[in-house]
């Protein structure tokens, strides 16, 4: 998904299922089994290897955008169609861009929670500011 977004990195080595693991009202990870439990994805550059789980995940991302709690951008190693559907529909339905970019594992591991970054999915680069 093309687009440019700036924000603070929130990273995990675990996959995320937006349905069942992210609270659609607050953007908090609400599954105690997840290492990001109680952290909010709202406004973050959310870095996780790949999406998993139900095909309803797309709907949760759209709802997060509706209530202003969506991530600013998504960085993956592998993006599957169910995850991509949320940001695609967001762009056309709420005119709101959530860029998604895939990185190789080495670059992916350079991203750490708390870094300020710019994700430029159109040019396919991530710039680490601090």
């Amino acid at each position: 998904m093309p687009g440019v977004a700036k924000g603070e990195v929130l990273t995990t080595s675990q996959p995320i299922s937006f349905w069942g693991e992210v609270d659609p009202a607050s953007g908090h990870i609400n599954d105690p089994r997840h290492e990001l439990f109680n952290r909010s994805v709202a406004g973050k550059v959310l870095v996780f290897p790949f999406g998993k789980g139900s095909s309803t995940g797309s709907l949760i991302i759209l709802e997060l955008a509706r209530v202003g709690k969506a991530p600013a951008a998504i960085v993956n190693v592998r993006t599957e169609p169910i995850l991509a559907t949320g940001p695609i529909v967001c762009k056309h339905f709420y005119a709101r861009e959530i860029p998604i970019i895939t990185l190789d594992e080495t670059s992916f591991r350079m991203l750490r929670t708390g870094q300020q970054v710019t994700v430029n999915a159109t040019e396919r680069v991530v710039i680490i500011h601090s």
Binding site: M1, G20, P24, D31, K52, G53, S54, S55, T56, G57, S58, L59, I60, L62, E63, A65, R66, T79, E80, P81, I82, A84, T85, G86, I88, V89, K91, H92, F93
Partner: protein, 420 residues
């Protein structure tokens, strides 16, 4: 992506706002996954039918208001509730209103009000080799693996777009080369008698999903005379424990009459064996109830077929569901009409079984029912009921569920794979 002149006109808005938005979404998906063109689909099954968040309702209502109408025969997955017997299902009024709005939007778009998660058993049924676009994980696995139709795992909202346009980007499981099995799963030490217990099939599916993840697996050793409802339970379980869109059941899947056929003449990248011990462990992972008390029995996840109702009524007719618990069976409107017509429904109702249509037992109104633990013949329900409803689960065959219902405490667990 290469677009036809007609598709370009749709993107320009010449066929209305709904088609314009739907196609723009499909084109973005295609561009992202390297599709070169769109292909026609024969039918669509929409998963985004269950009111969960307002964004989904807004999307369906906007598409309907913009004049969106399905371009190909389209069936609908369950609502969260029984849209006709909502009082008996104790649906709070504010939730009912939102479901009714969602229903109105889909009916305006001329989708068929099938409200079922087993659209492959009656309704708009695809055939072998047909390109289709389906949502609902169990139905996707069934369509690809048992019928041999071709669909990707379509997400909510993408399914609505595919229904309006009648096309999807050509990528993933629509292409023969991506349907090749890369994992082989073999059954070891599973006797013919073990297959006489219907509870084995969902457990095997559950294990396949864990082993396969998002890869295409081939499984050997499933009896060729397995009942269609056993395969349904297998698919539902596999798609709940893994991101399984397609597996090959050798001798059953049309594309896998032999192992070589589905491996496309190459060697599997990895091989797993399923043993009775692994089946027992899978059952133990699903089983979270401590002690022998349950207050709910759930059957019909996925929705029950006529054959399953015949089995149920044979076992429960003349008996009575214990006052300590509630027995639910879910199905679609067609099957409900049939069992009402031939008297099965009356026998079930007399025994204390509540039969619902349209709804999903994983989304029952928690505000008005206060269950603590459920027993079910569905491994999918057992797998999700804690994360969805906070319910502990016990799992068993239909016979075990009926016995439990009548005696008011958990019975069963005497299956052959539990014996040393």
């Amino acid at each position: 992506m290469r677009l036809t002149d007609e598709e370009k006109r749709i993107l320009d808005g010449q066929q209305g706002g709904a088609a314009q938005m739907a196609l723009a979404v499909l084109v973005d998906l295609g561009e992202l996954f390297g599709a070169e063109e769109l292909i026609k689909v024969a039918q669509v099954h929409i998963d985004a039918t269950l009111y969960m968040v307002d964004a989904g309702l807004e999307f369906a209502e906007r598409m309907a208001a913009l004049g969106g109408e399905v371009g190909v025969p389209t069936s609908l997955n369950p609502s969260a509730i029984d849209l006709r017997q909502w009082e008996a299902y104790r649906v709070p009024p504010e939730i009912l209103t939102k479901h009714k709005r969602l229903e109105a939007a889909y009916l305006k778009m001329r989708a068929m009000p099938t409200w079922t998660c087993a659209p492959y058993q009656n309704g708009i049924i695809p055939r072998f080799g047909q390109q289709i676009a389906w949502g609902e994980s169990n139905a996707i696995a069934f369509a690809n693996s048992i019928i041999g139709a071709r669909t990707n795992r379509y997400a909510d909202l993408m399914d609505i777009c595919a229904a309006i346009i009648g096309k999807v980007p050509k990528f993933g499981l629509h292409l023969a080369e991506n349907r090749k099995a890369t994992i082989l799963i073999r059954l070891k030490g599973i006797s013919a008698q073990m297959f006489a217990n219907g509870a084995i099939y969902p457990l095997l599916g559950y294990l396949l999903g864990e082993m396969a993840g998002d890869q295409v697996a081939a499984i050997t050793g499933i009896p060729p005379d397995a009942k269609i409802d056993s395969l349904k339970g297998f698919c539902a379980a596999a798609a709940s424990s893994g991101a399984v869109g397609l597996f090959h059941m050798v001798g059953i899947t049309p594309e896998a009459q032999t192992l070589e056929m589905c491996l496309h003449q190459s060697k599997p990248q990895s091989v797993f064996d399923i043993t009775p011990k692994l089946i027992k462990k899978a059952e133990d992972r699903l089983w979270t109830v401590k002690g022998d008390a349950v207050d709910l029995i759930v059957s019909g996840c996925p929705h029950y077929s006529p054959a399953e109702f015949i089995q149920l009524v044979k076992r429960i007719k003349g008996k009575k569901v214990h006052s300590a618990l509630v027995f639910w069976a879910f199905t679609n409107r067609s099957v409900y009409a049939w069992i009402k017509n031939n008297g099965i429904l009356k026998d079930l109702t007399d025994a204390g079984v509540m039969v619902f249509t349209d709804g999903c037992p994983l989304q029952y109104p928690k505000e008005t029912w206060h269950f603590k633990a459920a027993m079910t013949d569905s491994a999918k329900f057992a797998n999700y009921c804690f994360s969805q409803r906070g319910l502990d689960a016990a799992y068993g065959s239909l016979e075990d569920c009926v016995e439990t219902a009548v005696r008011g405490k958990i019975c069963g667990r005497e299956s052959l794979w539990r014996k040393k």
